[in-house]
């Protein structure tokens, strides 16, 4: 890796997640969720896995912000600032490494910044949500298909919160995983603020959580063309003028992809791309 930060070794990390998803509702999933209910059991579970032996040493990143459950899943402005202040020095390659972020979350549990049960929360907003979800599942019947599916989906949620690639490959880092989401959204905001000579807050407002979700899906898919500064900049300029959301925005992004096949939109200025997108929008 490019930067010498502590991380889990890749193979044990991948196997840890893959093993948990081998069979829906299996005893292994049940034991893992049970362990998530207490810090001591969770750490013991990790200590007994190959993860404990395979850590790549590196510089620790000072980070001590104590989250609430809701805040961990959906960081507020203060917690976003705390995350960025701690991690803004890492490079893009490290920020796209789930083995690095996984180690960060484990350290947060160790330092009581978060509780392991919170990893199961899926953002419906209630306190103790993760714990209630796990407890309810542990009382369910593992032989029933629906209960096995729910258990599997909860284990997947925990893995996403740990920034593990097993449920949805590495794109988890950029949206599903809260710290990654904050880092990458802020990274793009800073980058675009400089490119477009705009205020960062204004960019963050334009690229709000709803828009970012859609943009992240496109940016980090294999067919991404938005990742070029001039294209992303053009889109933000357009969204400033016309706050389009949802399916309309999705249509624009799809049409922009067709256009990029024959036109070098990555070389056009953001202003020219903004005009281009306006024309696409008018034709929708």
């Amino acid at each position: 890796m490019a930067a010498p930060y502590a991380r889990f070794a890749t193979i044990p990390w991948i196997e840890f997640g893959k093993n948990l998803l081998t069979e829906k509702g299996a005893q292994q999933q049940r034991d893992f969720l049970q362990a998530c209910l207490s810090k001591r059991d969770f750490q013991q579970h990790i200590e007994q896995s190959p993860l404990s032996l395979n850590r790549e040493q590196g510089d620790p990143i000072p980070f001590s912000y104590r989250f609430t459950e809701a805040e961990f899943y959906n960081p507020c402005k203060d917690s976003q600032e705390a995350i960025w202040n701690a991690f803004n020095g890492i490079d893009k390659e490290t920020a796209a490494d789930d083995c690095f972020w996984g180690k960060v979350v484990m350290d947060m549990i160790e330092k009581k910044q978060i509780e392991p049960a919170w990893l199961a929360a899926d953002g419906k907003g209630a306190e103790e949500e993760g714990r209630h979800r796990i407890e309810r599942l542990l009382q369910s019947d593992a032989n029933k298909d629906t209960d096995s599916n729910h258990m599997d989906s909860c284990v997947r949620r925990v893995l996403r919160s740990l920034c593990h690639r097993a449920p949805r490959r590495k794109r988890i880092i950029f949206y599903d995983f809260p710290l990654g989401r904050v880092w990458w959204r802020r990274h793009w905001a800073d980058r675009m603020a400089e490119k477009l000579s705009r205020d960062r807050e204004k960019i963050l407002e334009t690229m709000d959580e709803t828009n970012y979700k859609l943009l992240a899906e496109k940016l980090y898919s294999g067919k991404s063309y938005l990742g070029a500064d001039n294209v992303f900049g053009g889109l933000l300029l357009f969204l400033e003028k016309a706050p389009v959301k949802g399916d309309k925005l999705k249509d624009i992004l799809d049409r922009l992809a067709y256009l990029s096949a024959w036109k070098a939109i990555e070389l056009q200025s953001p202003e020219e791309n903004c005009d281009e997108i306006s024309r696409i929008f008018e034709c929708l």
Binding site: M1, A2, T10, I11, I14, E15, D91, K92, E93, A95, A96, D97, R165, R169, K170, F174, L219, Y220, S221, G222, K223, S224, Y225, G227, A228, N230, V231, W262, K263, A264, I265, E266, L267, Q268, E272
Partner: protein, 299 residues
């Protein structure tokens, strides 16, 4: 417009039919010490050549760093375009890389302002089958007038596919093959976790002790069999993913994907087919695997 045309202006493409055969656009890429050297060459008389020399068209590359979906675009201005003695145009991008792995490179020639063209054979370099003499063509600004196929540094070589690791706690003579189909581009997708004795044997392959063309000892044959066994596990695993509809080509590591394509080409067996036999496919890939381990970089 001719019914065989896709766009209403000509685009040079590999295997494309818009241009005469003597018009060729080729690109070579080298990656060393975190620097990327991209050499564009354009042969033959054509309007693209004229416009490159006039500066209204530019050589361009797009770089994609897959793990973080970072796209970077570069263009070369007229003063970077050189003509060799044979009249071929060349231009070189020399780009510093800020990632630990090389990007996927997509070269093209782009028109930077709108231009009009009147077809003249052979001056325009266009195919007389698709473009009529005297036909006026308008080409919009930023159109890609020549598109090269994407280039990357991925190969299916086994050395790039497999990492060999030692686990001293494993029982002698044992080995575990682990496939990480979604490995990042900076990672190898297959790991052989070996007991110390197996590891020591495999090190000998890496050090080039085995000659595939003449295996002279039982130990050498055993080492070959270890690789065959590992490949067999890899193919069986990928075959299962394919049959479970978990095979999303977009998410598969490029090296693994290239290796599987090589395997299919070399063995004639197709992943996901009912009669696919992982063990048989691995046996047929073995000499290739050993050769690659001998010659490729590993760790």
């Amino acid at each position: 417009m001719n019914e065989y045309r896709i766009l209403d202006f000509p685009v040079w493409q590999p295997e494309g039919a818009d241009f005469a055969e003597d018009v060729r656009y080729s690109v070579e890429v080298e990656y060393r010490d975190r620097r990327l050297k991209v050499t564009h060459s354009l042969e033959g008389q054509s309007f693209i050549r004229e416009w490159l020399l006039q500066g209204t068209a530019v050589f361009s590359v797009q770089l994609l760093y897959k793990d973080s979906s970072e796209r970077q675009a570069y263009r070369l201005e007229r003063n970077n375009v050189k003509k060799d003695q044979g009249g071929v145009l060349h231009a070189i991008h020399d780009i510093a890389i800020d990632f630990s792995y090389p990007p996927k490179v997509t070269p093209s020639i782009v028109l930077v302002e709108q231009r009009k063209l009147v077809v003249q054979h052979p001056k325009s370099g266009l195919s007389s089958l698709l473009w009529k003499p005297g036909e006026p063509i308008s080409i919009p600004a930023w159109a890609r007038i020549a598109c090269h196929a994407p280039l990357d540094f991925t190969s299916g070589e086994t050395a790039r596919l497999i990492t060999i690791d030692c686990d001293e706690t494993m029982q002698s003579g044992t080995m575990r093959t682990s496939v990480n189909e979604g490995a990042a581009e900076s990672e190898k997708p297959v790991t052989l976790l070996c007991a110390k004795d197996v590891y020591n044997e495999l090190r000998k392959i890496k050090q080039g002790e085995d000659d595939v063309s003449s295996i002279r000892s039982c130990a050498a044959a055993l080492r070959l069999a270890i690789i065959t066994q590992a490949l067999s596990v890899v193919y069986a695993y990928m075959h299962r993913l394919y049959n479970n509809n978990d095979f999303n080509a977009e998410d598969i590591n490029d090296t693994l994907k290239a290796h599987l394509e090589d395997m299919q080409e070399q063995t004639g067996m197709v992943l996901g087919n009912e009669n696919f036999e992982p063990g048989l496919a691995a046996t047929q890939m073995r000499p290739y695997a050993i050769q690659a381990l001998n010659t490729g970089e590993n760790e």
